[in-house]
C-alpha cells in the first residue's frame, strides 16, 4: 500500500486536469465522469489505508526530494497515520457524494466542466494537505485549498457579489496565513527542519526556550502554537477572521457543502490536532485555542439566530460548530474534536445539500421569509433535512449528540467551567436556530410568490429534486443517524477512540501523567475515568438542552408566529446587532478596507501616475528638448558646417597656445 499512497491524491488531480483541458470540447454534460471516478477510487484506497494503519502504524512514501540544501531537506513526502486516515476517508467520501449531487444541481450550468475540474482539484489539494509529511508541503496545500475555495466561490464570476466574496475569502485567509507563515518560519529557525517526525519528537528540547523579537522574550513553543493557530483561525473561520464564510455562500451550494462545511474549514482543526505534541508542551497556546473556539461558538450561534437567508444560517452554524472543535482541542480532547469533525462533516454537508435541494425546488429563492409549507411538496428533502437538523441539535441517538456531548464533558472535566457554560448555551441556541430554519422553511403556509418571475423566466412548478441529488442526501442522512453510534459507542471507548488513541499518545496538558492509565482501563492520553460514570448526567443535560431549543423554536415559529416579531420589536437594538452580524464587516471596512483602498488609490493616481510616469515621461521630454536644440546644428547649410570647423580649429589652437 505504501507505494500506492500517491494515487490517493493524484487520481482526483488527473481527473481535474483532463476535465479542464478537454472539458469544453467533450460535451459538457459528460464532464462529471472522470472526476467522480477519480474521487471514488480515491475513497476506496483511503478506506484500505485505514486497515493498514489500524494499530497505529504510519504509512510513508517519499515521492521526490524537493529541496536539498546542505542540512535542510524538504521532500514531497506523504504520510498516513490514523488521524490522516480518518481525514482522507471523510474528505474523499464526502467529496464523492457531493460530486454525485452536483451532477444534478449544476445541470445546465455553462461552467459545468469548470466546476467539476475545480472540485476535483480541491479534493486533491485537501488530500495532499492532510497527507503531507512536513510543514512546507502543508503550507503549499493550505494555500492551494484557499485558491480552490476562491475559484469555486467565484464560480459565477460574472456576478459581482460572487467575485467579491471570492476575493474576501482569499484575502481574509491570507491574513491568517501571514501568522501561519511566521509560525512555520519560527519552527524552521528553531528546529532547523520542517519535517513532522523530527519536530514532534524533538519538541521537548525547546520547552522554556525563548525567542526574542522586538525586544521581547517569548516562549518559542507557545509563540509557534499561537502563530500556527492564527492560520487555523483564518482557514476555519474563527473570530475575528470568520467574516469570509457567510459571504462564501455566494458559491454554488455543493461548494458550500464540501468546502465550507465538511472539509476545507476543518483544515485548521486538523492542523492543531496534528501539532498536538507541540501544543501539549505549550499550555498557554492551548488555552488560547480553547477560549477563541468557545467564544466563536457562542458568537456565531447568536448571529445565526436571526438570519433570514437559509444558507447564512448554516454558514454561521458551521463557524459555531468549528468553535466547538477548537474548544475541544484546547481542552485536550483531541479525539473528541476529530469525532465532532467527522460527524459534523456528515450532517452539515447533508444540511447544505438539502438546502440546495430546497433552493433548487424554489427556482433560486434563498430567503426563508418567502418559504413555508414545503414539507408535503418536497418530502424527501424535508425528511433528510430533519435528520440533519436533529443531528446538529444533538438529539440522541444521532451522530451529533455523541460528539457534541463528548466535547462538553471533556471541557467540563478539564476544568473549563466557563467554556462549558458557553458551550451549553450554544447548544441550546444551535437547536433553536436549526429548527427555526426547519419550521420557517417547511411548515406553515407558503409565503413566497409562486409562479411569479425571477426576472423574465417563469419559475418551474415546485418539484422534488432528481434522484441523483437525493441519493447523496439519503446516504448522508443514514450516516448522520448511525455514525455517532458506530464510531463513538461506548463513550470514550468507541471505535474512533481506539483508532485514534495511538496517534494522540502523550498526556494531555492538564492530566497528571498517566503511566498506569492503561492498567486502569483507560487509554494513554485519555482522561482516566470509567465510562459512564458521571457522564450520564451530562448526556441527560445535553439532550434537555437540545429538546428545549427545539421546543422554543416550535413555540416561536409554529404556535405563535407573532412572538418573534414582537420580541424583535421590543429588543430592537439587540435584534439589529445580531442581524447585522455585530457590524463586523462594517467595522473592518472602516478599519482596514477603506484605508487600504485609499492608500491604493493614492499610490496609483498620485504616485504611480504622477511621480513615476512623470519621471519617465520627463526623461523622454528632456531628450526631446535636447534634440530640438541640437537639431539646429544640422541645418544642411554648408557654410554653417564650415564655420563650425573653423571655430573648432580656433579653439584648439587657442588652447594649445595657452597651454604652451
Amino acid at each position: 500500500m505504501e507505494g500506492w499512497l500517491w494515487l490517493i491524491p493524484v487520481l482526483p488531480l488527473g481527473a481535474s486536469i483532463v476535465t479542464m483541458i478537454w472539458g469544453k470540447q467533450r460535451i459538457r454534460e459528460k464532464s462529471h465522469w472522470l472526476p467522480c471516478i477519480g474521487v471514488g477510487l480515491s475513497f476506496i484506497l483511503s478506506v484500505v489505508t485505514c486497515f493498514e494503519v489500524w494499530n497505529g502504524g504510519t504509512l510513508r512514501q517519499v515521492i521526490y526530494a524537493w529541496i536539498s540544501s546542505g542540512d535542510f531537506q524538504v521532500n514531497l513526502a506523504l504520510q498516513v497515520d490514523p488521524l490522516t486516515a480518518i481525514m482522507i476517508v471523510v474528505v474523499s467520501g464526502v467529496s464523492f457524494l457531493i460530486h454525485i449531487y452536483s451532477i444534478g444541481y449544476m445541470h445546465g450550468d455553462e461552467g459545468y466542466h469548470r466546476f467539476f475540474s475545480y472540485i476535483s482539484l480541491f479534493t486533491f489539494s485537501m488530500l495532499m494537505l492532510v497527507m503531507s509529511a512536513n510543514f512546507l508541503l502543508l503550507y503549499v496545500f493550505w494555500e492551494a485549498v484557499g485558491l480552490c475555495s476562491y475559484l469555486l466561490i467565484g464560480h459565477w464570476y460574472y456576478k459581482k457579489s460572487a467575485a467579491d466574496a471570492g476575493k474576501k475569502a482569499f484575502i481574509v485567509n491570507r491574513v491568517g496565513d501571514f501568522g501561519f507563515g511566521l509560525g512555520v518560519l519560527l519552527l524552521f529557525t528553531t528546529f532547523g527542519t520542517l519535517d513532522y517526525q523530527t519536530i514532534f519528537s524533538r519538541g521537548g528540547e525547546f520547552v522554556g526556550k525563548s525567542f526574542t523579537v522586538f525586544g521581547m522574550d517569548l516562549d518559542v513553543l507557545t509563540l509557534a502554537g499561537i502563530l500556527l493557530f492564527t492560520g487555523a483561525m483564518g482557514k476555519s473561520a474563527q473570530f475575528p477572521l470568520h467574516v469570509w464564510l457567510p459571504d462564501a455562500m455566494e458559491g454554488p451550494t455543493p461548494v458550500s457543502a464540501l468546502i465550507h462545511a465538511a472539509t476545507m474549514v476543518t483544515a485548521g482543526v486538523y492542523l492543531v490536532a496534528r501539532c498536538h505534541p507541540l501544543y501539549n508542551l505549550a499550555p498557554s497556546a492551548l488555552v488560547t485555542v480553547a477560549i477563541i473556539g468557545g467564544f466563536t461558538a457562542l458568537f456565531a450561534a447568536s448571529i445565526g439566530l436571526v438570519q433570514n437567508d437559509i444558507k447564512r444560517v448554516l454558514a454561521y452554524s458551521t463557524v459555531s460548530q468549528l468553535g466547538y472543535m477548537f474548544m475541544a482541542l484546547g481542552a485536550g480532547a483531541y479525539v473528541g474534536a476529530i469525532f465532532h469533525l467527522v460527524t459534523h462533516a456528515f450532517f452539515k454537508a447533508l444540511l447544505f445539500l438539502a438546502s440546495g435541494s430546497v433552493i433548487h425546488a424554489l427556482g433560486g429563492e434563498q430567503d426563508m421569509r418567502k418559504m413555508g409549507g414545503l414539507k408535503d411538496k418536497i418530502p424527501w428533502t424535508y425528511g433528510t433535512f430533519v435528520v440533519g437538523a436533529l443531528a446538529l441539535a444533538g438529539v440522541p441517538p444521532l451522530a451529533g449528540f455523541w460528539s457534541k456531548d463528548e466535547i462538553l464533558v471533556e471541557t467540563f472535566k478539564a476544568g473549563y467551567y466557563a467554556l462549558w457554560i458557553l458551550g451549553s448555551a450554544t447548544a441550546f441556541m444551535t437547536a433553536f436556530y436549526i429548527f427555526r430554519l426547519i419550521f420557517m422553511t417547511f411548515h406553515g403556509d407558503f409565503r413566497g410568490k409562486p409562479a411569479e418571475a425571477h426576472g423574465e423566466e417563469p419559475v418551474p412548478p415546485l418539484h422534488e429534486s432528481p434522484s441523483v441529488m437525493l441519493y447523496p442526501l439519503g446516504i448522508l442522512a443514514v450516516l448522520s443517524i448511525l455514525a455517532g453510534l458506530i464510531l463513538g459507542w461506548p463513550p470514550e471507548h468507541g471505535f474512533i477512540h481506539r483508532f485514534l488513541a495511538p496517534t494522540f499518545l502523550g498526556a494531555a496538558p492538564r492530566q497528571i501523567a498517566a503511566p498506569l492509565s492503561e492498567a486502569a482501563g483507560g487509554h494513554a492520553g485519555m482522561p482516566v475515568h470509567a465510562a459512564g460514570e458521571g457522564t450520564f448526567g451530562f448526556m441527560i443535560f445535553s439532550t434537555l438542552l437540545g429538546a428545549a431549543g427545539i421546543l422554543t423554536a416550535w413555540i416561536f415559529y409554529v404556535r405563535r408566529p407573532e412572538a418573534p416579531v414582537k420580541l424583535a420589536q421590543t429588543y430592537r437594538s439587540t435584534y439589529e446587532l445580531l442581524l447585522n452580524k455585530y457590524w463586523m464587516d462594517e467595522l473592518y471596512d472602516v478599519l482596514f478596507v477603506n484605508p487600504t483602498k485609499r492608500l491604493a488609490n493614492f499610490l496609483w493616481q498620485d504616485f504611480d501616475n504622477r511621480v513615476i510616469d512623470g519621471f519617465v515621461n520627463g526623461i523622454a521630454h528632456g531628450v526631446e528638448l535636447g534634440g530640438r536644440g541640437l537639431r539646429h546644428l544640422q541645418s544642411g547649410y554648408l557654410q554653417q558646417y564650415a564655420l563650425s570647423m573653423v571655430i573648432g580649429v580656433a579653439v584648439i589652437v587657442s588652447i594649445y597656445l595657452l597651454v604652451m
Binding site: R631, S635, G636, Y637, L638, Q639, V646
Partner: protein, 102 residues
C-alpha cells in the same frame, strides 16, 4: 636692395588666407565660394614659397606644384558639380542646397 623680411610674406599670406576663408563662410554664390577656396590655396602657396627661399630649400616650391595641381583638378570638378547643381535647382544660391537639413 635689402631682402624683404620673411614675416612680410607671411602676413600677406595670412591676410589673403583669411580673406579667402571669409569668402567661403560668408558668400552666397557657390561660384564665389569656389573662387575663395582658390584664394586660400594660393595664399598657402605664397607661404610655401616664402619659406622655401628663406630656408634655402627647394621643398617648398616642389610642394607648391602639388598644391596647384590639386587646385586645378578641384576647380574643374567643382565647376562641373556646380553646373549640375544649377541644372537641378536653377540657382547658385547656397541657401537652397539644404537637403541634408536635420
Amino acid at each position: 636692395m635689402s631682402p624683404v623680411p620673411l614675416h612680410y610674406y607671411l602676413v600677406v599670406s595670412t591676410l589673403i588666407f583669411f580673406i579667402g576663408m571669409l569668402g567661403v563662410l560668408t558668400r552666397r554664390n557657390v561660384i564665389i565660394i569656389l573662387m575663395s577656396i582658390e584664394l586660400m590655396l594660393n595664399a598657402v602657396n605664397i607661404n610655401f614659397v616664402a619659406f622655401s627661399y628663406y630656408l634655402n630649400s627647394l621643398r617648398g616650391q616642389i610642394f607648391v606644384f602639388f598644391v596647384m595641381t590639386v587646385a586645378a583638378a578641384e576647380a574643374a570638378v567643382g565647376l562641373a558639380v556646380i553646373v549640375y547643381l544649377f541644372r537641378n535647382k536653377n540657382t547658385v544660391n547656397d541657401d537652397e542646397f539644404s537637403l541634408m537639413r536635420g
